[in-house]
Amino acid sequence: MADKHKLLEVKGLTMDFGGLRAVDSVSLEVHEGEIAALIGPNGAGKTTFFNCVTGIYTPTKGDILLHPKGLATRRLNGLKPNKVTEMGLARTFQNIRLFPDMTVLENVMIGRHCRTKSGIFRSIIRSRGVREEEQQIVEDSYQLLVKVGLGEFANEFSKNLPYGAQRRLEIARAMATDPFLLLLDEPAAGMNPQETAELDQLICKISEEDRIAILLIEHDMKLVMNISNPIYVMEYGKKIAEGSPQEIKDNPKVIEAYLGEETDA
């Protein structure tokens, strides 16, 4: 594992909201080809961690370093979300954030925005180059839809999709930005076991076929244990454990954290 290229390196990330420390010096690494997972009880600070990495929040302390293959290292702290995405880091949202009044296909086409370049004037003139680019966007987006199994819904409004399909659409939209690292925030939330199983396959397929590394937040332990390695565990803003699925399963701290939660639920 050590010889794999390190893509994302987070060192001592801390995020304060007023007096509240939501994330407390968490460090984490994602390597090429990995499906890493970040788990933990509700309110552990996982989503805040994502938001810091993707530029929605500016972290209070710590470093977020991105090492794209063949390019210089970039520090992501304080960069705008769209810059982060341009660098090859895409995400989905825990509470689905699609563009409801756009069609399914258009949702994915938005993802292509930062990889294409027709400006206002060229769009008005609509030259051959622009038309070709436009058609290319459509084709690429459609291919992505087919990949996540939504090809037939291309011209539906995204708000009319069933829940599980909306989650998959979010993944397709994120993929459209050509990332090398995909951050999935609870992709299986609200899915039934069959949908979860399909998602399981989809994530593996993305990892293998597209050579995209994945970092996911998840509650569904079965899914996490099946596909991810390594796993990081957070509780109350702190990282309490990391390691292979087996190591995590046997970690007393993790058991305690989860048992505590399960009694609540």
């Binding site: 993707t54 769209n82 895409a90 954030r97 563009f99 756009m102 938005i110 069933p162």
Partner: protein, 405 residues
């Protein structure tokens, strides 16, 4: 049945109470006369009684419709299906264009002037539609850019004697430039803050025009602005009106063409995505500041350009023409027509500008009706008269699907 009746009765009593002092009593303190207008009370009682039935029925219908939509069934009305039909669309467009071309020959000059006003509002509506309808940036000071265009022509014409055609692009570019300058600091603001700041800008521009005599000639305005020229031909008022009419038709066609292309382009999609969800939009790699600025400035461009024509048409402008009410009228055109929908905005402009022109007797009730229509539209038909139809795309898979199925 009885419950409904009781509810309506309560509403009726409530409105009688509510409107009593304002509708019934009119008091003249200097002559110590109180005028009691009891008849209006009866009207209020009867009207609110029946309207409350209608209100409840419409609300229930709205709820039912929402439910159907939530179940994922997409409903397209017959009119929409008709509009989707391309051959019908082309035919309709052809007929409309032909009609608009012969219009000044069928009707008199007065009708043409009215039509010019309506067309000016069409362009304004389409321009505002870019920022409000597509990008979701509520601009309550849109008329400021209209003023920029009108004054840029009036002043350039006055000082340097440049003609209409030279100033037309200048007005547009200046409008656009103002959009960028004003937009730059304020576009980071959240939606509702943006509304109040743009409202403030609208007022500031008017105040500046009123006060800065050396620059704008103050409230007395600028008179004797040249009408558009045509190779130096001397035209009388009829000829000139017809000429302006054709310029305006061309401008509307031009605006439609360009907004249509923009809407269905990479930029247009980014605007719509921004309106739908800002956070998801930036997370997908779209530069929010630039996208907002481009929508705001492009909207301003149209206002500036049509402002030039406005000045050329009226030949006289003063700051009094650029009040908040104008912004509100343009906004209601966009809202009533259907935010984001080009056809809707055009229809909205015609209804809102032509209807009061022909129903002069009711002109006092014009603004009252505007206000009520804005509220009712938002509640019962938020998508406007004609809702926005998304473009369908052709892709390779489509053909395969058809072959297989």
């Amino acid at each position: 049945m009885l419950k409904e009746f009781r509810q309506s009765l309560l509403v009726s009593i409530w409105f009688v109470f509510l409107t009593f002092p304002l509708m019934v009593v009119r008091v003249n303190t200097t002559e110590s006369i109180v005028e009691w207008r009891w008849m209006s009370l009866v009207w209020v009682a009867v009207a609110s009684f029946f309207l409350s039935y209608l209100w409840r029925y419409m609300l229930a219908r709205q709820q039912a419709k929402k439910k159907v939509e939530e179940e994922g069934v997409q409903q397209l009305s017959k009119a929409q299906l008709l509009l989707e039909d391309m051959t019908f669309r082309y035919k309709a467009m052809g007929v409309l264009l032909a009609f608009s071309l012969v219009f000044p020959w069928i009707f008199d000059t007065y009708q043409s002037t009215i039509m010019i006003s309506a067309l000016i509002y069409v362009v304004l509506g389409l321009g505002l539609n870019i920022s409000v309808g597509l990008a979701g940036l509520l601009d309550l000071g849109y008329v400021a850019f209209f003023a920029v265009g009108a004054y840029s022509y009036a002043l350039i014409n006055h000082h340097f004697d440049f003609g209409f055609w030279a100033c037309l692009p200048v007005g547009g570019v200046l409008g656009c430039l103002f959009g960028v300058i004003l937009g730059f600091p304020i576009l980071r603001l959240r939606g509702d803050y943006l509304a109040i700041v743009t409202l403030g800008f609208g007022m500031i521009i008017k105040v500046v025009l009123e006060n800065w005599n050396e620059f704008s000639f103050g409230p007395s305005g600028i008179a004797n602005i040249d009408r558009p020229g045509l190779f130096g031909i001397d035209m009388n008022i009829d000829g000139s009106t017809t000429y302006i009419y054709y310029i305006m038709v061309a401008m509307v066609v031009f605006t439609i063409l360009i907004t249509m292309r923009l809407r269905n382009s990479r930029i247009g999609r980014a605007w719509i995505a921004l309106r739908e969800d800002e956070i998801a939009c930036v997370a997908m790699g779209i530069d929010m500041a630039r996208t907002k600025l481009s929508a705001y400035a492009l909207g301003a461009f149209w206002a500036g350009m049509v402002g030039v024509l406005f000045a050329a048409k009226t030949t006289f402008i003063n700051p009094a023409s650029f009040t908040f009410m104008e912004s509100a009228i343009i906004l209601s055109i966009v809202v009533l027509g259907g935010m984001g929908s080009i056809l809707g905005v055009i229809l909205g402009a015609f209804i809102l500008i032509l209807l009061p022109e022909y129903l002069r007797a009711f002109s006092e009730y014009r603004m009252l009706a505007f206000g009520a229509a804005m509220v009712l539209m938002m509640i019962f038909r938020p998508q406007g008269i004609i809702s926005n139809i998304r473009q369908k795309y052709e892709y390779k898979g489509l053909k395969e699907e058809a072959d297989n199925g």
